[in-house]
């Protein structure tokens, strides 16, 4: 199938983090320190990614796959998709 060519951005992880912070109320986890904080961050990102994928009608994987990253790169309204 002719899926449009897609170049994975170099800073994909940072882009996902920023997108979820902006539009999906993913709190900045910079202040969380240690293993528990990192685990918590990981599960929060997955949860928010699933939320985002469901909202946009994408396959809900909880992973930043090509379709998800492509959607994140589209120009959009700056109002968050979920209430802060």
């Amino acid at each position: 199938f002719p899926a449009r060519s897609f170049k994975m951005p170099k800073d994909a992880e940072q882009m996902v983090q920023q997108y979820l912070e902006n539009y999906y109320d993913l709190k900045s986890v910079g202040e969380q320190i240690g293993q528990i904080g990192r685990q918590r961050k990981g599960s929060l990102v997955v949860e928010k990614l699933k939320q985002m994928q469901k909202f946009f009608g994408l396959k809900v994987t909880g992973k930043p796959d090509a379709e998800t990253l492509k959607m994140m790169q589209q120009a959009r309204c700056g109002v968050p998709d979920v209430a802060a």
Partner: protein, 369 residues
């Protein structure tokens, strides 16, 4: 649709707006016109009225700004966020900020001010983002034609849930986004595409799921930005890896995601249809015979893809070659040697070898509903 959390709304129905400054990308008249049209979209379906003021505070203050502009929601240069708006309320409530780092247009180039203003106004009035991809309140920018800039039924349902309907007796209706599991779903056209099947309806394609993917609904322009909306027929000429899309008396050809040059072409000049044929309802290429069947009203035409000419003896009544499927076809495709005809809310599985209808199916049977 989704209402803003807490259901904020304007208590008064007569609202004012003021355009605080103007983008240099457009004339002032163009900006005024785009903003006025955006307000009209929402006032047409609600009891709300909007009056422009040129001085002082208005309920909805509109401005073009860039970067950090003092509301804790900075813009970050071109692309990304185009604009934002605040929920109904005093002070900054209802206000709309457009990112001046974008290029604003009054045509189909990025980014159309009317479309973005209409979306932001939805927020100013109390709507949140909708996950209906065809709604104006969907968060991503997607304008391919002027037809795209109108309210969907989802937008209308949302705003009327807040403010009620307009008192105007003639109510505009919004466009519906196809729902894959709606048993009343009909299709404009269907084609195979390198082994998959693509169902077309208005601006959208629907692609059935497979063992590794969910059914998908998206804009046709994701794949082919230059195809018009509302295609009427399509078929795959697999030998050339080409898909041909028809609308009115014109057609376009694509290979993969590439639009082939030299299109649109005339169906009269290319296929030899008489001038009396103004559009094609459905088309399908039969691999075994190398023939393409075109369905036009209650008749079929048969085109030889290799001789590049219409076969003698055509047109015929549809029933002559395809008995049992009625006298009109909305869409048709071939898969695994069978033809699948769609007419209204019915789908017919047809065996071309025995010329018999094998099964009647719901039109959305391909979407695992």
């Amino acid at each position: 649709y989704v209402l803003t959390q807490g259901n904020p709304r304007w208590e008064q129905t007569q609202l004012t707006y003021r355009i605080e400054n103007y983008t240099p990308d457009l004339s002032r008249a163009d900006v005024d016109h785009a903003i006025e049209k955006a307000f009209q979209l929402w006032s047409a379906v609600t009891p709300l009225t909007f009056s422009k003021v040129s001085e002082g505070l208005a309920d909805i203050m509109i401005s073009f700004t860039r970067g950090d502009h003092g509301d804790n929601s900075p813009f970050y240069g071109p692309e990304g966020d185009l604009a934002h708006a605040f929920q109904p309320g005093p002070h900054i409530g209802g206000d709309i900020h457009f990112d001046e780092d974008e290029t604003w247009t009054n045509d189909l180039r990025h980014y159309n001010l009317f479309y973005v203003a209409a979306h932001e106004l939805g927020h100013s009035l109390g709507l949140s983002h909708s996950n209906d991809i065809g709604a104006l309140m969907y968060p991503n920018y997607n304008v391919n034609s002027y037809d795209d800039i109108q309210l969907s039924q989802d937008d209308i349902n949302g705003i009327q849930a807040i403010y009620g309907p307009s008192k105007n007796p003639s109510q505009p209706t919004g466009r519906q986004t196809p729902q894959m599991c709606d048993s009343k779903l009909t299709f404009d056209a269907i084609t195979t595409l390198r082994g998959e099947v693509m169902f077309l309806k208005d601006r959208f394609y629907m692609r059935p799921g497979s063992h590794y993917s969910e059914p998908e609904l998206h804009y046709i322009n994701v794949f082919w930005p230059n195809l018009p909306n509302g295609l009427q027929a399509a078929y795959e000429f697999a030998d050339r890896d080409e898909i041909r899309f028809f609308k009115g008396n014109e057609y376009w050809a694509v290979r993969g995601t590439e639009m082939l040059p030299g299109y649109p072409r005339s169906i009269h000049r290319s296929f030899g249809f008489p001038r009396s044929v103004e559009n094609i309802d459905a088309a399908v290429f039969e691999e075994n015979t190398g023939k393409t069947y075109f369905f036009v009203a209650d008749k079929i035409w048969r085109y030889d893809e290799y001789k590049q000419s219409m076969d003698a003896g055509y047109p015929k009544q549809i029933a002559a070659d395809f008995p049992g499927i009625g006298n009109h076809v909305d869409a048709v495709f071939q898969k695994n040697g069978f033809l699948y005809f769609f007419r209204g809310r019915r789908q017919y599985k047809f065996d071309p070898r025995t010329k018999r209808v094998l099964t009647l199916l719901k039109p959305n049977s391909w979407f695992n509903c």
